[in-house]
Amino acid sequence: MRRITRYASMLMVMAILLAAISACAAPVAAPSGAAEPAAPGEAAAPAAGEVSFEFWHIQTSTPELLQNAVDRFMADNPGVSVEVVPLQNDPYKTKIKVAMGAGNPPCVFPTWGGGPLYEYIQAGQVVDITDFMQQDGYVDRFVPASLSNVTFDGKVWGVPVENSAIAVVWYNKTIFEELGLEPPATWDELLAIVDTLNENDIAPFAMANKTKWPSSMFYMYLVDRLAGPEVFAGAATRSGGTFEDPVFVEAGQMIQDLVNRDGFVEGFNGLDIDTGQSRQLLYAGKAAMELMGSWQISTMRAENPEWVAANLAFFPFPAIEGGMGDPSNVVGTVGDNFYSISSVCPYPDEAFKMIQYLIDDASVAERGAAGRIPPVVGFTTDDPMLQGIIDLIGNAASVQLWYDQYLPPELGEVHKDTMQALFGLEITPEQAAAAHEEAAVKFFGQ
């Protein structure tokens, strides 16, 4: 008898477990369509008539900038509730893909514009917000250069919000003074500085290239200084250009020349920028310069304000004598994070309104105070370093978007890998150029 009851109870437990599991085991088909979206990332069922959606962002170091804006939006729009989800940069890239691949992305999400955004657009996942932007001339609020990263096929797909960030050479002015050095105007002058620094046992450039994109900045600038932005644009859009253009090869040669001259700290391909391994070298006086985006200001101020006040300065990337590019050109992004609306969102109007609060006047003031440069026309600041950056952007004849953001993601990855290999002297400049071209041909089919 006991045996039977034991079996019976086991069977019951099994049955319950199985029932629970099969309740969850809806047929797991691979996404064959973005159709039938579950409510886009709703955490709670809305009351009748209430609007509710999710907003993801990656500003984990300053979440209050966004939360404050959203709170103001919700206060002005009772009946709309927004769940703000701050996510760290790298996990975000995976999570958004998983969500999109499953047809369930949040209503509002950030991108860096360029190629990756275009992939989403082509897949029909992004709302065309041209009309929203045109309404009441809202689009005029923004610095014109900021919209180029989110404009495709003549339509606008994202709102520039976060930060204008360009790459400049940050340097330790104290070291420069001690050694009698002046910020260089040309590449040759820079090389002379490199040699002097080496003679004094100071590494010229700090660089943390584990993530590969820091090295790309040199390449982008050199190409632009040598020949202007058209060469890259022509190659990248396959409109008559090629990545094997001699300009690319020459840029590669100049880079390897710099590496061979001990222009960089040792072991840069293994240093991690996220843990500050390049900045540490600057603070310790072991390196004198770093080519990096202008977010460097706020990062360094948070880490080491005294050092920044005493030593930090920047100069724009030098010109190349005989180069055809306009020396006022800059490499970077005007907008950094752009917010888009996913096409499965049932509330695009409210979503757009919410985005507008992220860059309204109150937000702009908060961002300025936090050391950001919002991409709005007429933004000025009392901070001399930030204002210097703003002036550089304002005077730039053109702004080249980071290659790994401009290009389709597949090519962007090839570019970054190639850069790491080029700087590591593992491949020749010709091979680097060929690698880009080959990948482009394969991707675009021409």
Partner: protein
């Protein structure tokens, strides 16, 4: 219920009509049900789906997929990065087995025979396993830092400047630098595994051996080790599989770089699937990884296990 004449350990699912369902078969089915329910839903179905995806070109966000047939697979066969990754994986297999298992076993023996003094040691020895990969990654990035790290600093302090390296940046040694950290992390795992087995060996055996005149050494090599055979096979199989599908620390410390020097099948798959928007090709790599590991594991485990059973009788 009859108790007599039931064969010892046979549960026969036969076609012979039986008055009652064989009790053992019922138990087997019942006991295995929850396991396979969980496995099929969460683990095994997705890998099957991954094989299906490998026949397509898909960027991960587009509802439309392009059928490619076996193009992804021919691309994989010619992909030098993949073969490099495969080679790196096998290097990890080899080094993990010859380092982690012996050291883990040695520590387990130490803790088992060492007595009360080592109870404190045991906690410290276990610590590396407790840390998350993120923590270990950050820590060892500082340890390996060419300028501020403790390794180079120590080398310089004892006058061995020439041995200082860019541990994570030099393509020739980066893989080995990370393998050292993997060993650091996983030795406690094998230590605990072997310790659990060791403590199951009854004291009487040791006493009997001593009575027979065995030394510590002979006791270990002739009595303990054979008894641990099963554990060692298990450990070796786990190490093999773990090394071939490894992802975590490599990703945190080098992302497979520099220049694919530390690329593994799993990191390559991740990059293709999530960074390059090439989900179809990523699925191909995942499927290939699965096949490689499955074939390797089965060819190692079952023959060894059968021999073990033959020996154990």
């Amino acid at each position: 219920m009859t108790t007599a004449a039931r064969d010892n350990t046979q549960a026969r699912i036969t076609t012979r009509p039986r008055p009652l369902i064989n009790e053992y078969a019922l138990t087997a089915a019942l006991f295995l049900l929850p396991t396979f329910a969980f496995l099929f839903i969460f683990v095994l179905w997705p890998i099957v789906d991954s094989f299906r995806l490998s026949l397509y070109k898909w960027n991960g966000v587009d509802p439309n997929l392009t059928f490619l047939g076996v193009d992804n697979w021919t691309r994989l066969a010619k992909d030098s990065v993949f073969w490099r990754a495969l080679r790196n994986n096998f290097i990890i297999v080899f080094l993990s087995i010859i380092i982690q298992l012996p050291v883990g076993l040695a520590l387990a023996v130490l803790l088992d025979t060492g007595g009360r003094m080592f109870r404190f040691f045991k906690v410290i020895y276990f610590l590396p396993l407790l840390l998350s990969t993120v923590a270990i990654g950050i820590l060892f990035k500082y340890i390996y830092d060419p300028y501020f790290g403790i390794i180079n600093a120590t080398l310089e302090a004892v006058g061995l400047q020439s041995l200082t390296q860019a541990w994570l940046s030099n393509p020739r040694i980066a893989l080995f630098s990370v393998i050292a950290v993997i060993c650091w992390q996983y030795i406690p795992f094998y230590m605990v595994l072997f310790l659990a087995s060791l403590t199951g060996i009854p004291q009487e055996l040791r006493e009997a051996a001593y009575i027979d005149g065995a030394t510590e050494n002979t006791y270990f090599w002739r009595v303990v080790l054979p008894l641990l055979r099963g554990s060692i096979i298990t450990a070796a199989t786990l190490s093999l599989i773990g090394s071939l599908k490894y992802f975590d620390l490599i990703w945190v410390m080098t992302e497979g770089g520099p220049v694919n020097a530390t690329e593994l099948m799993a990191t390559y798959m991740y990059k293709k699937a999530f960074n390059s928007f090439e989900m179809g090709y990523g699925a191909t790599i995942a499927s290939a990884l699965f096949i490689v590991v499955l074939v390797t594991a089965l060819t190692v485990y079952f023959p060894l296990q059968r021999r073990e059973e033959d020996i154990a009788g």
